[in-house]
């Protein structure tokens, strides 16, 4: 413990030249991204040190200021990336590899953040009770035929807020409010649990359709207990106002203080390489952000779909208004 304290205190770092290392703050669980860091270390010899925290990353960076040891923030939602930009904690970066790999819609125009993987917000539908083709749009979830049949997680969770923000960006406030109110009325129960818990609720018979991120399907299939839940549903890629399925990214930002900027950029380049993109797809069941990398067989089996290609910065700009709508219709109080 003392050794760790000294190391982190920077006493050692001050005395010897910097080692090849990258320091990462992330809200993604280590068991998800560690394999990619391990592959990077094996290839380059650069160590990757990680602090995993669900909240407080931005505040920690702010407090640490110019001396912050962190180089890179890796986070799981456009909202968190946007927060870093708004607080002035990210610096613009670019490399040829990143430019070539990441499509415009999934990165910040000035390179303040870069998308690393894509995920679709899909509808999980009961195999038993929802015939194929019965639901094809997010809008339909608010229709009268789904009354008492819908499950979602809390309305102010960041994934839900991003979906509402995308709806706002395409359809405007009036239509979005009406849709949210309809959705709320159709809920089978008070919004609760995470995306997986919604699928479980379908399996239990509490509801027939649910909103969730696409990769959970793959994760549930891997878990001996949850496999049964996953097998009780099928995936629908719903359409949002003619633009396709709502997409979100996990992404990374290089911090303003980044003491190991070059190594951080090398790690970013590695994370959009074919190897890492494939690892993400195989392990986390996320869609590669890099064009030309094929999704895993499992992902392909869910079917082809059109992803909404609205620039995510535009979605991010609507998040605050989206959250206010969620509060105004009191979504979390349930049906």
């Amino acid at each position: 413990m003392i050794r760790t304290a000294l190391l982190t205190a920077g006493l050692v770092a001050a005395a010897v030249p910097a080692l090849a290392e990258v320091n990462v703050y992330t809200d993604r669980q280590p068991f998800l991204i560690q394999p990619i860091f391990d592959a990077f270390t094996e290839q380059t010899g650069t160590e990757v040190n990680v602090v995993f925290a669900k909240s407080g990353i931005a505040e920690r960076l702010e407090a640490e200021g110019a001396n912050s040891p962190a180089d890179l923030v890796i986070t799981s939602d456009i909202g968190h990336l946007n927060d870093l930009v708004e607080r002035g904690l990210a610096q613009p970066v670019t490399t040829e590899t990143l430019e070539a790999a990441v499509p415009d819609a999934y990165r910040h125009p000035e390179g303040l953040w870069w998308g690393l993987t894509k995920r679709a917000r899909v509808i999980y539908a009961s195999r038993e009770r929802v015939p194929e083709g019965a639901i094809e749009t997010y809008g339909a979830l608010a229709g009268p035929e789904w009354e008492g049949r819908v499950c979602t997680r809390a309305g102010d969770h960041t994934y839900q807020v991003s979906l509402v923000a995308a709806h706002l960006a395409h359809e405007g406030p009036e239509a979005t409010r009406a849709w949210l109110e309809g959705l709320k009325n159709n809920l089978a129960r008070k919004p609760q649990g995470n995306d997986r818990a919604q699928v479980k609720a379908i399996w239990q018979g509490e509801c027939d359709v649910a909103l969730g991120n696409s990769y959970y399907m793959g994760k549930m299939l891997e878990d001996p207990e949850q496999q049964e839940w996953a097998e009780s549903v099928y995936i629908v890629f719903p359409d949002l106002a003619g633009h396709g399925t709502h997409m979100n990214v996990s992404g990374a930002a290089v911090t303003k203080a980044a003491p190991h900027k070059a190594d951080a950029l090398a790690l970013l380049d590695f994370m959009v390489s074919d190897t890492a993109q494939d690892l993400y797809a195989q392990r986390n069941h996320e869609y590669p952000v890099k064009e030309g990398v094929a999704p895993s067989d499992l992902l392909k089996s869910w079917g082809d779909f059109t992803g909404d290609d609205i620039p995510l910065v535009e979605v991010a700009g609507n998040r605050d208004a989206a959250l206010r709508l969620v509060h105004e219709v009191d979504y979390n109080s349930g049906p």
Binding site: G56, S68, D156, D223, L323
Partner: protein, 554 residues
């Protein structure tokens, strides 16, 4: 030239050394308050129209839910805590010696873990409802009614089950130390055991019980894991919403301050409960009221129920999940995480008790109101969510580190980088700031039971404050010190949000590992770590019960 004036102690006035204690106490209290002050500074910022928006939409609901939850937990912990403490301290019934320490066991179970376990058991797909459906031939959830575990009532039940030991622990010590002789007197004067409990023992134990209930309620107030899992929208849940989804640190800090007003009310209630009612110990003795027949077994059942529900059931479920994966669990860095958890918990326990003794003794020496106010304020740290307190730790540490770095650059042309931020020292500081209320409450209650006459006698015999503390108070307080240290140890083992934010690179604790999996509803993977936290919590519980027993048999 005149001779140097000789200062002699003025009779009737406090001597100088006492003042040093008071000043020291004030400095330490101020240090413990720094994170709260930082939160207040953040809250003073401009959060735009967030308040107008929240007040007209979701805030009234948050407040009302919080009040209901706290009321339910207060009643629950009070009834279970004092009821079992009384039975164990005064009555004799089968299994009493085991139940006496077993009643502490639920303390080792984190609220979020027990919430996961009971959801697993009681939800629609769980074994209980499945068995009922098979038994009665029901087909879907529309055929029958079953209480919803994920509800306000469910959250209150979960928290009561793991928080009642605070009340039990402090009430039992109080019943032991005070009620014995008094109870005999009451009985001699014709009071029945029930009336003796209500009219004599309970009022006498009120200071200790008040501390216990206040601790339980503070923990209720700052809980995030359980309420978010159960979709119960308390102020803490609202705070996280504003913080994480609106990205407003300022708004979150402001809700944190609203919560502090709840705690301030709790602390004031607790202090008022104690005022003018310092009961000083008579010689500890165990009054035994033998119970026979059905009443004896009823007492056994009453004391066993909380242990079974709060410990045996969750521990068995976790063990059932963990054992098949034991080799996998031990391979995954559990050893290091367990060492980190133990090291931090011991460090925080020792530090917090040391600080608490210093503060409580300084308070005893000084009678100035300023110190009282300051000390009461340090108790607030316990009740704001750990994550918010962590932000309050980040700010002063970051400022200090950057100031030192700037100075070193100016003077010596070298950069010191960040010395304390992101170090174990920052973690320990946060734990002490957060759990000081617990340690201080226990130590102060214990110190309050030592008659002031002892201090005066020792003072008359020429002993200074330090000597009095070391030779008289500390030995007398041993039980209270162990209690205080145990409470901090167990809570540090369980602590999650502040640990997540403040820890060094690649530094996991057991709670962090459990959370990683549990947050993804991977209860099976979380089970080994959760079970280890629970088991580690057992060691100090056993140690504590042994210490208490030794005291009982002089």
């Amino acid at each position: 030239m005149t001779a140097l004036p000789v200062t002699a102690p003025v009779p009737g006035r406090r001597s100088r050394p006492g003042r040093a204690w008071i000043v020291g106490g004030a400095v330490i209290a101020a240090l413990a308050l720094a994170p709260l002050a930082a939160v207040a500074v953040i809250a003073a910022g401009d959060s735009g129209d967030i308040w107008g928006h929240l007040a007209t939409t979701v805030l009234p609901g948050y407040v009302w839910t919080t009040v209901q939850l706290m009321a339910l937990v207060a009643v629950g912990t009070l009834v279970i805590g004092t009821g079992t403490a009384w039975l164990v301290a005064v009555c004799r019934f089968p299994g009493r010696r085991i139940l006496e320490w077993a009643l502490l066991l639920p303390l080792a179970v984190p609220a979020y873990v027990i919430a996961y376990v009971y959801t697993d058991l009681l939800e629609y797909a769980g074994p209980v409802q499945t068995a009922l459906r098979d038994l009665f031939g029901w087909r879907t959830s529309r055929d029958y009614w079953f209480p919803e575990i994920r509800s306000l009532g469910g959250a209150a039940a979960m928290m009561t089950l793991v928080l009642y030991p605070y009340v039990y622990l402090l009430a039992r010590t109080a019943f032991r130390e005070q009620a014995g002789g008094v109870l005999e007197v009451a009985r001699t004067l014709g009071r029945g055991p029930w009336r003796a409990f209500v009219t004599v023992a309970l009022p006498l134990a009120r200071p200790a019980v008040a501390v216990g209930v206040a601790l339980a309620l503070m923990e209720t107030l700052n809980d995030f894991g359980t309420v978010s899992y159960f979709a119960v929208h308390t102020l803490t849940a609202g705070l996280y919403g504003v913080w994480l989804t609106m990205g407003s640190t300022i708004g979150a800090a402001q809700i944190g301050l609203v919560m502090l007003s709840f705690v301030a009310a709790l602390v004031m209630l607790e202090r008022r409960g104690r005022q003018g009612r310092r009961h000083h110990a008579v010689r500890p003795r165990t009054a035994v009221l033998p119970l026979a027949g059905a009443r004896a077994w009823l007492a056994t059942a009453a004391c066993a129920a909380p242990v079974v529900l709060g410990f045996v059931v969750p521990a068995s479920v976790l063990a059932g999940y963990a054992l098949p994966r034991l080799d996998q669990a031990l391979a995954g860095g559990y050893g290091t995480a367990a060492l980190h958890s133990l090291g931090l918990a011991i460090g925080a326990g020792v530090l917090a008790v040391t600080v608490a003794v210093f503060l409580a003794y300084a308070r005893r020496l000084g009678r100035g109101r300023a110190l009282h106010g300051l000390l009461n304020a340090t108790m607030l740290g316990y009740a704001i969510p750990g994550a918010v307190l962590a932000i309050g730790v980040l700010v002063p540490f970051g400022a200090l580190d950057n100031a030192i770095d700037g100075l070193a650059r100016d003077l010596f042309g070298v950069s010191t980088g960040l010395l304390l931020s992101g170090s174990v020292a920052a973690l320990l500081y946060a734990y002490v700031a957060r759990f000081l209320a617990m340690a201080y409450g226990a130590v102060d209650a214990g110190l309050g039971r030592v008659r002031p006459g002892l201090d005066m006698a020792a003072r008359t015999l020429g002993a200074g404050p330090g000597r009095i503390l070391g030779r008289i108070h500390l030995p007398l307080l041993r039980g209270s010190l162990v209690t205080a240290g145990l409470l901090v140890f167990v809570d540090t083992m369980k602590e999650l949000p502040a640990t997540l934010i403040l820890r060094p690179f690649d530094f996991d604790t057991l709670a962090v590992q459990v959370y990683q999996y549990a947050s993804d509803e991977l209860l099976a993977q979380a089970a080994p770590g959760a079970l280890t936290i629970v088991l580690a919590g057992l060691l100090p519980v056993i140690l504590l019960s042994r210490t208490l027993e030794r005291r009982d048999t002089p």
